[in-house]
């Protein structure tokens, strides 16, 4: 078992336009990327619990050339609106840091 943060050299969130937030987990090695990919953790159903978004709103893309997994969700509130807490969307990654990867 390892924490996701220990397998990644980059683990971030960021706006993808004003209405979406995208999460990137970029792995240090090909093996670690494959390990995370096959762990079963990166499913919309599981991420829905971790990130607190409805599963049908969550898009997961595996990107071998970048040794990366990308997760994109619609924002809870548009960037900069009254209910927004993070204009750049760059601090929403925290719940992913300690995900257990088999």
């Amino acid at each position: 078992m390892a924490r996701l943060r220990d397998l990644c050299h980059t683990l971030r969130s960021k706006n993808a336009g004003p209405f979406q937030i995208t999460f990137d987990a970029i792995f240090r090695t090909e093996d670690e990327f494959q390990r995370a990919r096959e762990s079963g953790v990166f499913t919309p159903g599981n991420l829905a619990q971790v990130l607190r978004y409805p599963g049908q709103d969550i898009k997961v893309v595996f990107y071998p050339a970048g040794k990366a997994i990308k997760v994109t969700v619609p924002r809870r509130a548009p960037s900069g609106s009254f209910d927004d807490t993070d204009v750049f969307g760059c601090q929403q990654h925290a719940p992913l840091l300690d995900l257990d990867i088999l």
């Binding site: 706006n15 004003p18 979406q20 990107y63 040794k67 994109t72 900069g80 609106s81 807490t85 993070d86």
Partner: protein, 458 residues
């Protein structure tokens, strides 16, 4: 021409171009100097208020660097999304600074100005003709959204830039533009592959962010018929196959394809091969044109005016029940002001930093914090209402008698007075929609201006 040297001076002109890397790039004699000046990433405020994210003095500094270098090398200078949001006020501010610089250095050049602000009547017609749809998952466009919008811009593709190059422009200053198109226009104009040109544009518009370690330094892409080679102009930054491939993830929902004006960039077959430790060659990227050309519109609506106030909870008796205290005070304030202000005229929210300030409803961790910064946040129809509600809210929080209170002198450590601070105008993105157009340039009128020895002619 066997190759083209495509140079990005800055991914966000107006925030200070790092000089050594810029000078190194210029010494390699690029075929054009491009810079992106804006984004929606900075939020809705600048588009609504008509102001720039960068300070005018820094915009002047950066613009002077690119303009003087471009004239010295006699190569085009291409600027997109002028003044952060690329609307008319942003474009005009950028041009004022540009004219000052031209005058001071007695520069001579042909200037093309490309406007990107869109008339509401035009958008209403597109809506009526059923030629508008959301860009991604968001609300359908309505006439109300269009009518209430403070400002709407269109994101131009490469075609208006190509038109300007055709017209003999030495300097192009464009309003809101697709970032990649700023850098793809010149190669495509010279007959290079569109897929490679757009991919190259997508990467270099972020300056050296695609390198390891990433940074804001200028970057060069050398393009030939089959691919392009990336090199950061700061020797400590290495463009590796991994760093460049991983950059396709940045600020995009999908690393395999990017939807751009007029088509999509397909990176499924893109290959990243090292040339040496610091340079990577990219091949295989393809451009697939859409049968119908679409333009993305960006628009904002004014929500009102903000006042806010800061104060910290430190007493463990209050920090342990902070969310409940804040909810109760919100209720008290609403009741107290009922009859004085129409509840539809203001919104009040306590943001609790230390509890869930950064993540709101997305926060999964509950921990007992040492202290909690409470931001009393009010957005109202007028600045007067915002200030009044803010003062009442933070005062009622200061002297709220919560369960088990021991410290009856006040609940907040207030860092400074006056405690209620103006946050200015508040906007919200209300348009992020695609419209179908007949001509990629129809939304983007161009002006050609001759500048001779620093003076505008005609």
């Amino acid at each position: 021409m066997d190759e083209m040297r495509c140079f990005c001076a800055s991914g966000q002109l107006g925030h200070g171009i790092p000089r050594p890397a810029f000078e190194r790039g210029i010494s390699l004699k690029p075929d054009y100097i491009g810079a992106d000046c804006g984004s929606t990433d900075i939020g809705p405020y600048y588009l609504g208020a008509g102001t720039c994210d960068g300070h005018p003095d820094i915009i002047r500094r950066d613009l002077e660097m690119v303009l003087l270098a471009g004239r010295r090398l006699d190569v085009p200078v291409i600027l997109g999304s002028a003044g952060s949001a690329g609307g008319e006020p942003h474009l005009q501010l950028t041009l004022r600074v540009l004219y000052e610089i031209a005058q001071r250095h007695r520069l001579s050049f042909h200037l093309a100005v490309i406007h990107a602000e869109v008339d509401k009547s035009y958008v209403l017609n597109k809506l009526a003709a059923n030629k508008a749809r959301p860009c991604g998952r968001l609300h359908e466009l309505t006439a109300g959204h269009i009518e209430r919008a403070t400002r709407i811009v269109g994101q131009m593709g490469m075609e208006p830039f190509i038109k300007a190059l055709d017209a003999g422009a030495d300097v192009i200053v464009a309003g809101r533009a697709c970032d990649a198109a700023v850098f793809a226009a010149m190669p495509v104009w010279k007959g290079y592959d569109k897929g490679l040109a757009m991919h190259l544009g997508k990467i270099i518009e972020c300056s050296s962010l695609s390198a390891e370690p990433g940074g804001r330094d200028a970057i060069m892409a050398t393009l030939d018929r089959d691919g392009f080679v990336l090199e950061s102009m700061n020797p400590i930054r290495r463009c590796t196959p991994h760093s460049v491939a991983a950059h396709s993830l940045y600020e995009q929902p999908d690393p395999f394809e990017v939807v751009e004006p007029g088509g999509r960039l397909d990176m499924t077959e893109s290959r990243y091969v090292p040339i040496d430790e610091r340079r990577t060659r990219v091949t295989g990227s393809r451009w697939e044109p859409n049968p119908v050309y679409t333009i993305k519109l960006e628009g904002v609506e004014k929500l009102g005016y903000r006042y806010f106030s800061l104060g910290a909870l430190r007493c463990p008796v209050s920090t342990g029940q902070a969310k409940s205290i804040l909810a109760k005070v919100e209720g008290i304030v609403g009741e107290l002001l009922n009859g004085d202000f129409d509840p539809r005229d203001y919104r009040l929210k306590f943001r609790a930093y230390g509890v869930d300030g950064a993540m709101g409803d997305g926060e999964t961790v509950r921990a007992q914090p040492l202290e909690i910064m409470v931001v009393t946040d009010v957005v109202a129809r007028t600045p007067e209402i915002a200030q009044a509600v803010c003062s009442v809210a933070r005062y009622n929080l200061l002297h709220y008698f919560y369960d088990g209170i021991l410290a009856t002198g006040g609940n907040l450590a207030v860092p400074f007075v006056p405690a209620d601070v103006s946050g200015g105008e508040v906007y919200e993105f209300s348009l992020y929609h695609l419209i179908e157009v007949d001509d990629p340039c129809e939304l983007f009128p161009m002006e050609l201006i001759e500048i001779r020895e620093g003076a505008r002619r005609g």
